[in-house]
Symmetry: none
Subunit: 401 residues, 2 copies
């Protein structure tokens, strides 16, 4: 029996509430003074909480594997990211706030430059055109019509756009059109199984019309489509865990991933403080709160150690407001590491803290990567987090007689 | 290759003996002075042994999952409890000392009260009738005959009884008759697959006859059947591990589970001391001894912290007698946690101690939950215990060239 089925079978009702605080890209690497971002940050509230908690380190997907944002969050929510996959097109659509229904196929689009004579790609990113130029071109592409297909297209950033086609019978087993190198033509979309033939035809029809519209543009006189995919059809949080779940996030992509898992997404403003207010306002209405802090990751991606420290400290100041609500289970961790030293996501384990009744407190009195190495939780996987949260919330019955 | 197949392939013979001491429900939670039952207990012998051992914490099934007695022991014996399942009816039969053969279907029965006019259930437990009344009713039900079917029925406790039907072709894919609420009639048994149709007919015939016999009784004028199941067909210990195995236990259910795994069950009296004597008496005849202490769990279930401490201390006094036999591998752990604070089984990890040659001694000098957080074994699963025991007993050959 897999974990999803097990949770579906064992969950029972309870009035206990769970808060999962995810600092995106939390895990770090030592800076010049030998401390990670989290260790360097002044976090009196998290450290105090650590003394009353059980801590450890958690591997997002598998040792050595660096997660994208999608897989990192799927694992946090208890969906094995090696089994459930969110296509790049779906993530891109979610990232600009587009919803998907079961009839929708989503793709990530890249404007590119083609040689006018031979149609081979000369620049896969069309000279990284501005977001404004992208918006102007997307506006022109909105004129494309295909019989019985609803089409939504939205600029993302620079040369990137999101495309959603909705129609009966669309299937997501399709190849990409980006050949991943210059000097060759964009590829046609091909079906990977027979049922996807009609879907391939429709997308190729859209591409043909787009090329016609773009042909006199410079530098963006073509485009490629990647990650053409449908909603992964995740079993819903309420079905799997029996939890009425609320997502508090400031960035569209994380709201979108939460929505895929069947959480309700509430308007949470732009700041950690507005997110705490949102948590308070919605406290009575939900059992589970996914509380997402984005800017730790952004700072890490920018290689800005000090800014990441500042965001962690800002989050620490939000802790008393969360604890004042008396969550029965409070978990602090991240979806993946984003060490400023690497300027990118990484595979390193995440520090994790479980605060709840019925824990065995360990001797760790600081929330930090190296302190967590001595934690009583040991080394867990992100997939273990939801079952443990459910157990501490007294929301799982016994397995077997 | 799964673990059972791996063990079957790799085991070799040796004269090394293994003792697995299982204190049922051993794991605990801190009491008023911040110590768990095991930490509060005076265990000079286990602590001394800890100094010469390697220790850690073990998860019975999966993080957050609370095991019943069946799954907890299956995991200890190396059978994945998510793959092998012991039906409730089988456990109930084992619990009153009934054996099962491959032709047997076992069910747990509950006497219930029915409205005499409408036959809807008015009390699912018949007012919790006494064990004596249960025995009187069971005695009446012994008169039921069905062609070509051997029937055994035995009172368990209060309103519960165990029923075993044996015949050729019986199949265990059957629904239960308990609707789990009052105000509705007991359900008929239905087959979950075609092969079980005849089995459903036979059980429904038994139920019809039982209702006829019970109809003038009060309050127990009906009954329901749950967990109708066959022996799970575990691969035997001798086949998987090449071990001649002996179960030393005082309670029928644990003897029964051991018997399902193909162990020989010897008469062990009622006390820990009589179990130690039994171990001595049988020492020469077996390779593996499953030594089960029940009363730690009973005390935990009763919420009696001090009594659980007392049972642990009594077990500690038995350690020198076990060590005097010079077991080559001696393991101390539990099947699951039963913290007195929760008065029930729980998901918490079990402290575990491995004493053997060729171990790497760690720095832990106390057998307790928090001390074991620092143990050299780290965090393992119960499924890992038998392969490690086999290895330390020099009973596994190399895998691959």
């Amino acid at each position: 029996m897999n974990q999803i089925d097990l949770m579906r079978e064992l969950h029972i009702s309870s009035d206990k509430k769970i808060v999962l605080l995810v600092m995106d890209g939390l895990g770090g690497l030592p800076g010049s003074d030998g401390k990670t971002e989290l260790e360097a940050a002044k976090t009196p509230n998290m450290d105090s909480l650590a003394s009353d908690s059980i801590l450890g380190l958690s591997t997002p997907i598998a040792p050595g594997v660096t997660p994208g944002s999608g897989p990192g969050h799927l694992a946090l929510f208890g969906y094995d990211p090696l089994e459930y996959q969110i296509g790049r097109g779906v993530l891109e659509a979610l990232g600009v706030g587009l919803g998907l229904d079961p009839k929708s196929l989503a793709a990530r689009g890249n404007f590119c430059s083609l040689d006018p004579a031979t149609h081979v790609i000369t620049d896969r990113r069309a000279g990284r055109i501005s977001t404004e130029e992208c918006a102007r071109l997307v506006n022109k592409l909105k004129s494309i019509k295909i019989d019985d297909v609803d089409i939504i297209i939205r600029p993302v950033k620079d040369y990137r756009f999101a495309l959603i086609l909705s129609s009966d019978g669309l299937v997501g087993s399709l190849t990409e059109t980006d050949p991943q190198r210059t000097g060759v033509k964009p590829l046609p979309v091909k079906p990977l199984r027979k049922e996807a033939e009609k879907s391939a035809e429709i997308i190729n029809e859209w591409i043909g019309k787009a090329f016609e519209i773009l042909k006199d543009e410079r530098p963006a006189n073509g485009c490629t489509l990647r990650g053409i995919a449908k909603d992964p059809g995740l079993p819903s949080f309420s079905d799997v865990y029996g939890l009425k779940s609320c997502a508090i996030a400031t960035y569209p992509m994380y709201k979108g991933i939460a929505r895929l898992a069947g959480m309700e997404v509430v308007e949470a403003g732009d700041t950690i403080q507005s997110e705490v207010e949102t948590l308070k306002d919605n406290w009575e209405d939900y059992d589970f709160f996914f509380f997402h802090v984005k800017k730790t990751d952004s700072a890490g991606e920018d290689g800005d150690f000090d800014r990441k420290v500042t965001v962690i400290e800002e989050t620490d100041r939000a802790i008393p407001g969360i604890l004042a609500l008396k969550p029965d289970v409070f978990i602090i961790t991240g979806d993946h590491s984003t060490p400023a030293a690497l300027k990118s996501h990484s595979w390193h384990e995440l520090p994790i803290l479980f605060y709840a009744n019925n824990i065995r407190k360990d001797s760790v009195a600081e929330f930090g990567e190296r302190a967590c190495m001595q934690g009583g939780l040991g080394h867990i996987r992100h997939l273990d987090i939801m079952p443990l949260a459910m157990a501490y919330a007294e929301r799982l019955t016994k397995y077997g007689a």
